[in-house]
Subunit: 140 residues, 2 copies
């Protein structure tokens, strides 16, 4: 599952939880609603739980619910919760090049450039809250 797919899946689940709040919802109910396997969804939700975005409880009356207000949850923190690698990670070839060679210098150049792009994207995502997405969707 690609990072971008995981991100959109997460937002789908979180929107569902926002609507159901404060009632807890099971992974299988959400999974059926958004069209994904419940095991896979639980993997994502457990990461969101570890990062304090949702709350999870086992047992008969258990399930998931939002732990923060939807206006306090932004895309960047969702992304960081579900992905170890830096946002929209880009890589360069590291091996088979000599020290201080032009190829090596270019590797550093691109690492810097990609890091910059990454920061731009993260800044953009920080400005987008779950609530703003819900509002936008409802007005269409």
């Amino acid at each position: 599952m690609s990072a971008s797919t995981k991100l959109s899946t997460s937002v789908k689940a979180l929107c569902y939880l926002a609507k159901a709040y404060p009632k807890p919802v099971s992974s299988s109910e959400i999974a059926a609603a958004i069209g994904i396997n419940s095991s896979k969804l639980r993997m994502i939700l457990s990461m969101l739980a570890k990062n304090g975005i949702v709350e999870s409880n086992s047992g008969t009356t258990g399930g998931f619910k939002l732990k923060k207000q939807s206006s306090e949850i932004d895309l960047q923190e969702i992304y960081c919760a579900i992905e170890d690698r830096k946002a929209f990670h880009l890589d360069v070839r590291k091996d088979s090049i000599k020290k201080n060679s032009l190829p090596e210098k270019l590797n550093f150049y691109f690492l810097d450039l990609f890091a910059e792009v990454q920061v731009d994207i993260e800044d953009k995502m920080k400005k987008i809250t779950l609530q703003s997405i819900i509002n936008k969707i409802n007005n269409n």
Copy 2:
């Protein structure tokens, strides 16, 4: 080979060609210099040739050379030449969702958002010329 690796490989090769200009250079010479298999490099260079960035010639005195001034070549056109998919393509899950459902609306939302991000990145890359990279590298 990831898109970002292809991009940095391309720039390494183009820098090498800029330095050698106007002498044509064989793929195996470039490949040895930047640490990549010559077959693979030829695949990349042939795409750059199809897009008018380099010139290629078969035969004994053949090889590759730049077809445009390095100040006239920008990262975005290099990227487009080597990659069919849109720059830094991001995808969303399309199947198993109902028409006009919230998940479907969110898919459209993310397609738009990712397209926006893509435009931002492309704009940034358009401003970076091969010559500006060479200048930067030489001053380090």
